[in-house]
């Protein structure tokens, strides 16, 4: 018998999950995942398509329950039915397609959706909604229809909808995949703010390598397992393993590595423009 409560951030232990396609056939989506994420951490999850990233994300929000193993969200076991709503409140989830997660015809109504489901008092909801919209910089659009917003704005509204439930953790499943570069930047800036200013734990799934540079920790998934884990520098220094998974080291990382290979005396693990500029200036 596994304990219902366990003190910590988010934890997955030996999680196995299969999608039952039909009677005889099942797809193994998670093949034994062990993971610990502490409160306030910024974690980026990378991995090729079909490696189980979305499936893992849905386990951290009790949308899916493990076939084997356990998931604890802030000490609450996701298998305990009476804790489901508190788990979903404290670990909110933002999805890829901004159009398919906004429910209401007006921005502020949509942000209110979560708190309304929790049965919070109307006056308190209003407060939560304006606070959340301010946090993502969308308060000027509160009476707009989501249909007329840009992709980046829609995702910020979706984030506000989660923030209004006062979560301790936000899980974002490829929130930038359908956005243009400026929308991506908008959303990434918002996510970083949540983490740094509000202390919210962020689990960000992406296929843009440069977004991984913000992370405290990068997790690379492959075939339902965690293939690599560490700081961005540690992960991206494993050059061969990364490209074997069909992923690419971010451009600046490639550049530093090439400069280093060409005999220039710099750190080949540099990943950001600023660091590279500093390093090159030091050379002169």
């Amino acid at each position: 018998m596994t304990p219902v409560e366990k003190p910590c951030g988010l934890e997955a232990k030996g999680v196995v999950f299969k999608y039952q396609v039909d009677e005889s056939e099942a797809v193994m989506a998670l093949a034994g995942v062990d993971l610990e994420i502490s409160q306030g951490e910024f974690v980026v999850i990378l991995g090729p398509n079909g490696s189980g990233k979305s499936t893992l994300a849905k386990h951290l929000n009790a949308l899916l329950l493990p076939d084997e193993g356990d998931v604890w969200v802030f000490g609450m076991n996701t298998k305990a039915p009476e804790l489901t709503w508190e788990i979903r409140r404290s670990a909110g989830m933002v999805f890829q397609n901004p159009d398919n997660q906004l429910v209401a015809t007006v921005v502020e109504e949509d942000v209110a959706f979560g708190p309304e489901n929790l049965g919070i008092e109307p006056d308190k909801i209003r407060e939560l909604v304006s606070e959340a919209l301010r946090a993502v910089g969308m308060e000027a659009y509160k009476r707009h229809s989501p249909h007329h917003l840009s992709g980046g704005q829609k995702q910020r509204v979706a984030i506000a909808g989660i923030l209004a439930m006062k979560p301790r953790c936000i899980i974002l499943d490829e929130p930038t995949a359908m956005l243009d570069p400026s929308g991506r930047e908008e959303v990434m800036k918002t996510i970083k703010q949540l983490n740094q200013e509000m202390g919210i734990t962020v689990i960000h799934i992406t296929h843009f390598m440069d977004e991984a540079l913000y992370a405290d920790r990068v997790i690379v998934m492959d075939q339902g397992k965690i293939a690599m884990m560490g700081t961005p520098k540690q992960v991206f220094s494993q050059w061969e393993d990364i490209s074997e998974l069909g992923l690419e080291v971010p451009p600046i990382g490639q550049l530093s590595r090439r400069l280093w290979a060409a005999g220039i005396d710099i750190d080949p693990g540099i990943l950001t423009v600023d660091e590279l500029v500093d390093e090159l200036c030091r050379l002169k």
Binding site: D99, N100, A104, V106, E109, L118, G119, S145, H147
Partner: protein, 276 residues
């Protein structure tokens, strides 16, 4: 190109007395008005109901132009029913074209039906023109709530309407995009007879439905992730409250209804029974 027709009857946001009424009051008034319009059976009744409608339109600050544009789609039906009455009602002839004989009672009956339709449409479109979709669904949910004890799914109906309203523009945009993509590959949606045109819609509808189901799936997941579990225990941010203006409007509606009932009793049907 598809979305153009939808504009008719859509929320017209200006500040007016009618706009600021409680949506529940407006829904109830509209329902009473519809019944009253069918209780009225002569031109005096219409004078009363018509005056009430004109007053409402004036107070709503909706330009007549907008309301008349809303009538356009039903002009054909109106002319058709009026003509049917004109030619099919027996009575003294006005003129005759071949076997078709236009009668005096027919003319009166035709006019009567036409006017009733015009008043009906003008007044009911005022409801959607002055009430935003959210207010409308909130109001409807509230009105239906007492009936949920006898099995009317009040919350579910309102939620379905909200989601439909939210996704109509998205789906129309997508239909437009698919249509343009198909047209650029030589598809033809505009020529041929009705059957050919209906057939040409299949390659539009199939991808549209597939995508709509995918959207529904993802939306359901997102709603669940945001702790949605039906109407039970759910609160609303927007609270509806009836004010003095709402009671006044309801009072006026009742007076108008009483007057219409009076005209029905006092003056009787437009074409007295037995004269046909």
């Amino acid at each position: 190109m598809i979305s153009r027709g939808i504009v008719v009857g859509q929320y017209y946001p200006v500040n007016s007395l009618v706009h600021s009424l409680d949506p529940r009051a407006k829904i109830v008034i509209s329902m009473i008005f519809m019944v009253v319009l069918f209780v009225g059976n002569n031109f005096y009744s219409f004078a009363v109901a018509g005056t009430f409608a004109v007053l409402a339109v004036t107070l709503s600050k909706i330009p007549w132009k907008v309301l008349i544009r809303g009538l356009r789609p039903i002009v054909f039906i109106m002319l058709f029913t009026t003509a049917l009455h004109l030619f099919l009602t027996p009575g003294p002839a006005i003129f005759q074209i071949g076997p078709l004989k236009a009668s005096w009672p027919g003319l009166i009956q035709g006019l009567f039906i036409g006017i009733r339709l015009i008043i009906l449409i003008v007044f009911t479109s005022l409801l959607t023109l002055t009430t935003s979709p959210i207010e409308l669904t909130d109001g409807l949910e509230d009105i239906l709530k007492p009936f949920s004890r006898i099995g009317v799914p009040a919350h579910e109906i309102a939620m379905m309407m909200t989601i439909a309203l939210r996704f109509i523009p998205t789906l129309l945009e997508e239909a437009d995009r698919i249509m343009k993509a198909q047209m650029s590959r030589g598809a033809d949606f505009e020529s041929g007879n009705m059957i050919q045109r209906a057939k040409s819609l299949v390659p539009l509808l199939v991808p549209l439905f597939v995508s709509a189901f995918r959207r529904a799936d993802e939306l359901a997941m997102a709603m669940e992730a945001r702790c949605y579990r039906g109407g039970e225990g759910r609160t609303r941010m927007r609270q509806l409250r009836l004010s003095g203006g709402d009671y006044l409007a309801l009072g006026l509606t009742i007076i108008m209804s009483a007057l219409v009932i009076y005209t029905r009793i006092r003056f009787g049907p437009v074409i007295p029974r037995g004269t046909l």
